[in-house]
């Protein structure tokens, strides 16, 4: 090993307690960064999946303008054959056609305005978790049955139970009067009050007949295995769409822009905290290296007198810092990785977190997601700031006069 490397390494251990304290600060911050970023990324993944799996799906086929206006006449023609064609193309059952209409739902006692989805009863459970959330009764059985499932809050508001009838009044696609009488066969409880109060689902054929849609619908929801697969599926779905139509294939980010914004806002505030942490570590390194340079002023004067240029001495200080930084980074990544791996298997649950988590479509127990990014990004930034902190002590040597330095106590 080169003498300069040996010198740098041994210089670090002249004050072992100080070196360990500074390295310890780096290890702790790296551990924290690895764990927090892994938890954060895991949480975002869950947040996206859970939000999209409620209803939206990762992709939707829609008519242009429908996402913003949701007008009845902005339809997808022959929606069921198109959904079949997409299922065939993707080799997946996680594709379901839907129609949507606004209607007045009336029980014997009360009436409420609600949004009604016409759904493919066989495929809807593959793209949405609402069918699995039916807590009373059952989900829809066939596409042409005169039945409906409603949310728990709506059932309470309308004062209906499974087996009761509801009358639906609304407008057909042609503007004509649409009406139907359907049986409540199930009541779902999603835990999200807006959904439980305002949404109902009925079989798509009954829906098309009620609202005079003549085989049309308003969307085809598609669920991908993971977010990374979305772009490829999007292009494959586009290839199935009729060439004469002007249908759109919107991804989850276009369908739920608020979701990405919420994640970005959360990332922004977290990254600010991480930045503060990194700056504190950098100041600790700056303090250590400055002390180390100051207490060796006389020694530096001697080696300058022997003919070492200040730039070479500066590089020695940088090398010492790099060694300390690598130690802190390596130990921090290992410690953070092990801690995160443990929580990846066991999950993390904080008291009182359940309600807050539910608001963000998150489970009460969080699972961090270890990736190269979460493992390396934070420690690399800490290392970079550590090296930046060494620049001033190293530069200071450039202005040092050997005679004055040798006079230092």
């Amino acid at each position: 090993m080169s003498i300069v490397l040996r010198l740098a390494w041994r210089n670090l251990w002249r004050q072992p307690r100080r070196t360990w304290l500074t390295t310890g600060a780096m290890v702790f911050s790296n551990l924290l960064l690895v764990f927090m970023m892994s938890l954060q990324f895991g949480m975002y993944g869950l947040m996206i999946d859970n939000t999209l799996q409620v209803f939206t799906g990762h992709l939707q086929v829609q008519a242009p303008g429908y996402k913003d206006d949701q007008k009845m006449r902005q339809t997808v023609a022959d929606v069921l054959p198109l959904a079949d064609a997409i299922r065939a193309e993707l080799g997946s059952d996680r594709v379901a056609a839907r129609g949507w209409a606004f209607a007045l739902a009336s029980s014997e006692e009360r009436s409420f305005g609600i949004g009604i989805y016409g759904v493919e009863t066989v495929f809807e459970p593959q793209v949405s978790n609402i069918p699995g959330l039916v807590s009373d009764g059952r989900y829809l059985a066939s596409n042409d049955a005169a039945e409906i499932v409603i949310g728990k809050v709506l059932a309470r508001n309308l004062r209906v139970a499974v087996g009761d009838e509801l009358t639906l009044l609304g407008s057909g696609v042609d503007g004509s009067f649409a009406a139907a009488v359907v049986n409540v066969v199930g009541i779902f409880d999603s835990g999200v009050k807006d959904i439980d109060r305002n949404i109902a689902e009925m079989p798509i054929a009954t829906f098309q007949e009620t609202f005079f849609l003549d085989g049309a619908g308003h969307q085809i929801a598609i669920v991908a295995d993971n977010l990374d697969a979305v772009p490829e599926i999007q292009s494959r779905v586009r290839s199935v769409l009729p060439s004469d139509g002007d249908l759109l294939v919107l991804d989850w980010n276009e369908l739920q822009p608020g979701l990405k914004q919420a994640i970005q806002a959360d990332m922004g505030s977290n990254f600010f905290m991480y930045f503060v942490l990194v700056v504190l570590v950098a100041f600790s390194v700056l303090n250590t290296q400055l002390m180390s340079v100051l207490e060796r002023t006389r020694e530096f004067g001697i080696v300058m007198a022997l003919g070492l240029k200040p730039g070479r001495l500066g590089r020695l200080v940088i090398l010492e810092t790099a060694m300390m930084g690598l130690m802190g980074t390596g130990l921090g990544i290992v410690a953070g990785g092990l801690l995160t791996l443990w929580f990846t298997g066991n999950g993390l649950s904080l008291p009182g977190m359940d309600e807050m988590a539910a608001q963000f479509n998150l489970p009460a127990r969080m699972y961090p997601e270890v990736s190269a990014l979460s493992l390396l990004a934070g420690p690399l930034v800490v290392f970079l700031f550590t090296m930046l902190a060494a620049v001033y002590p190293a530069l200071r040597l450039r202005w040092q006069n050997p005679v004055e330095a040798m006079r230092a106590a």
């Binding site: 040996r6 010198l7 020694e299 007198a305 022997l306 070492l308 240029k309």
Partner: protein, 230 residues
């Protein structure tokens, strides 16, 4: 051939409200292979003169030549290069790097010079043997006596085979026996390697080893004695 030539050197330091003339129109010439002692009481200007010759300090006026090259107008980098290649320093307080062994202290300078690792090892072994430190190569300064540390400092100073060695009070921290041993080592190196030695001291026992004795007082040369003739 002249190893060192100083022409009309002046250097003034400010100390509080007072201006102190550390060098007051000093001119000397030192021949190659010379063995010269600069003698002066504290504050007499010997260290300032030594620093000016070594390119550590720039005089206010006058000219300094080392091996025929004018150095008082060189850049900091060029002066560092000159010190690295042509001048060896020995200090009063040894000033070894405490975390390096005797061998590493000697090799450190050679590494900076760009000497290959195998050559460094061979040369440092030979130099440490020459200064009487055979078997102590792997000891750190804290594990050595003052005399041994000063020998390591001498070995470090001559490692680059400089033409000129400047020693500032090299025996100040040594007992008389060790001082004599060190001066005999200097004499040996001067005779065998033809290295020019300029030693600043106020130790009379050291002065007797010099072939030439230059006495200074208040920044001026007051006496220049050829001790061989005496």
């Amino acid at each position: 051939m002249t190893a060192v030539r100083c022409v009309d050197l002046c250097k003034t330091y400010c100390q509080g409200d007072q201006d102190i003339k550390a060098l007051d129109h000093v001119s000397i010439e030192i021949a190659e292979s010379g063995f010269v002692c600069l003698s002066a009481p504290s504050g007499g200007g010997k260290t300032t003169l030594l620093n000016a010759i070594g390119g550590l300090d720039i005089p206010d006026s006058g000219e300094v030549y080392v091996a025929g090259q004018r150095i008082d107008n060189l850049s900091k980098g060029a002066l560092a290069e000159l010190r690295l290649r042509q001048i060896g320093f020995v200090f009063q307080a040894y000033n070894l790097i405490p975390v390096l062994t005797a061998r590493e202290n000697v090799e450190f300078v050679m590494q900076v010079q760009g000497v290959a690792a195998a050559d460094r090892h061979e040369k440092s072994t030979a130099i440490l043997k020459e200064v009487g430190l055979e078997g102590l190569e792997d000891r750190r300064p804290a594990e050595m006596s003052g005399g041994q540390q000063q020998r390591v400092a001498v070995a470090r100073a001559i490692a680059s085979k400089p033409s000129l060695v400047l020693a500032d009070e090299p025996t100040a921290n040594l007992d008389s026996k060790t001082s004599d041993e060190l001066m005999e080592l200097f004499t040996h190196l001067n005779e065998h390697h033809k290295t020019t030695f300029v030693i600043a001291t106020h130790d009379r026992r050291v002065m007797k080893y010099a072939r030439r004795l230059i006495r200074m007082l208040d920044g001026r040369i007051v006496d220049d004695i050829d001790q061989r003739a005496a």
